[in-house]
């Protein structure tokens, strides 16, 4: 373990980056399973890519399935009152929500 504060900061930063990358990869993998898209197509998703209300196949049942799968794979519980239009509307919204949730965890 490092006793140098600068090095600890660097560790924390690199952990944060790797956790962001991991969550991003996991969410994209779930979306590819739900939407039946190839990994390459989902890889092109940007924070602005529209989800609920933008992709016709993502109806409420599909979104509910998506959230359940996210809970299982990221080992989190998404409470009812945490669901809002913003978090489900774009890929960026979903990613930010998952990151915040995992940090609380």
């Amino acid at each position: 373990m490092s006793t140098n504060p600068a090095l600890e900061d660097a560790d924390a930063l690199s952990n944060a980056v790797s956790s962001r990358t991991r969550i991003d990869a996991e969410l994209k993998s779930i979306l590819s399973d739900v939407l039946g898209l190839d990994a390459e197509e989902v890889d092109d998703f940007s924070p602005e890519t529209g989800l609920f209300g933008h992709l016709p196949e993502l109806d409420s049942m599909a979104v509910a399935g998506l959230l359940t799968e996210i809970e299982d794979r990221l080992d989190i519980i998404i409470e009812d009152d945490e669901l809002d239009g913003e978090m489900l509307e774009t890929y960026g919204g979903l990613l930010t929500f998952a990151q915040t949730k995992l940090h609380q965890h």
């Binding site: 939407l35 039946g36 409420s60 509910a64 669901l83 239009g85």
Partner: protein
């Protein structure tokens, strides 16, 4: 491939998809439920076709209240479907059972077989209630999971278009997925690729259906040769 049968206590004939050639192994197939039933329907019958090619009989009866059944869905219960599954196993002289997803909740415990990616009632109910709160939110109505659950336990509930009676809501919330040694779980990872129930729309995957049928056939061969 299609025929009808009269379940005990039934009011009329019910439909069954049967690949029946009087072979030694006869598998009762218990399908996935509700939304997942649609998404996995084609897959389920594809698995049965592959089993047929591998020399194995199989039977897929409509659950009462589902598909072409004339029984109302809102009066169905897990206890009722369990007794139906027992009767079907007897009627078709099933030697094994293949329970798919929530089908595992009603699998006859005394039959050997397999549980494919078993799903708990609680998880399924949670997702269906969530779908309804999301749809309400989109429509500008306010519904909470807790409020819907209370309503469901009191008077039943329509979730994702499926009318569930109060007993069914209560049973879904409280019936644990059975762990039966005689019916080992086949996890999705063994079949390969993402489970088709995850898909937003019904789809198919011949490779997965082939793989599941092959796993079952191999397991049957092993048990006939006295291996676990």
């Amino acid at each position: 491939m299609l025929r009808t049968w009269m379940p005990p206590g039934g009011l009329q004939d019910e439909l069954v998809i049967a690949f029946e050639k009087d072979r030694a192994s006869r598998i009762l197939v218990l399908p996935a439920w509700y939304d997942e039933a649609n998404k996995l329907r084609r897959f389920t019958v594809q698995v049965m076709r592959h089993l047929d090619n591998l020399g194995i009989d199989s039977f897929l009866p409509d659950l009462p209240g589902c598909n072409e059944s004339l029984a109302p869905l809102q009066t169905q219960t897990i206890a009722g479907w369990r007794s139906f599954a027992r009767s079907a196993a007897k009627q078709f002289s099933a030697t094994h059972v293949l329970a798919i997803r929530a089908g595992a909740l009603v699998s006859p415990p005394d039959l050997p077989g397999w549980r494919y990616a078993p799903q708990t009632g609680a998880k399924m109910l949670r997702a269906m209630i969530r779908a309804r709160t999301l749809a309400a939110q989109e429509a500008g109505r306010k519904e909470t999971a807790q409020g819907l659950m209370e309503q469901g336990l009191r008077e039943g509930l329509t979730l994702a278009g499926w009318p569930l009676g109060a007993s069914m809501v209560e049973e879904l919330a409280n019936t644990p997925s059975p762990k039966l040694d005689a019916q080992p779980e086949i996890a999705q990872s063994e079949v390969g690729g993402p489970g088709l129930w995850l898909r937003a729309q019904p789809s198919e995957d011949t490779d997965q259906a082939n793989k599941l049928a092959a796993l079952i056939s191999r397991s049957l061969d092993a048990s006939m040769n006295g291996r676990p």
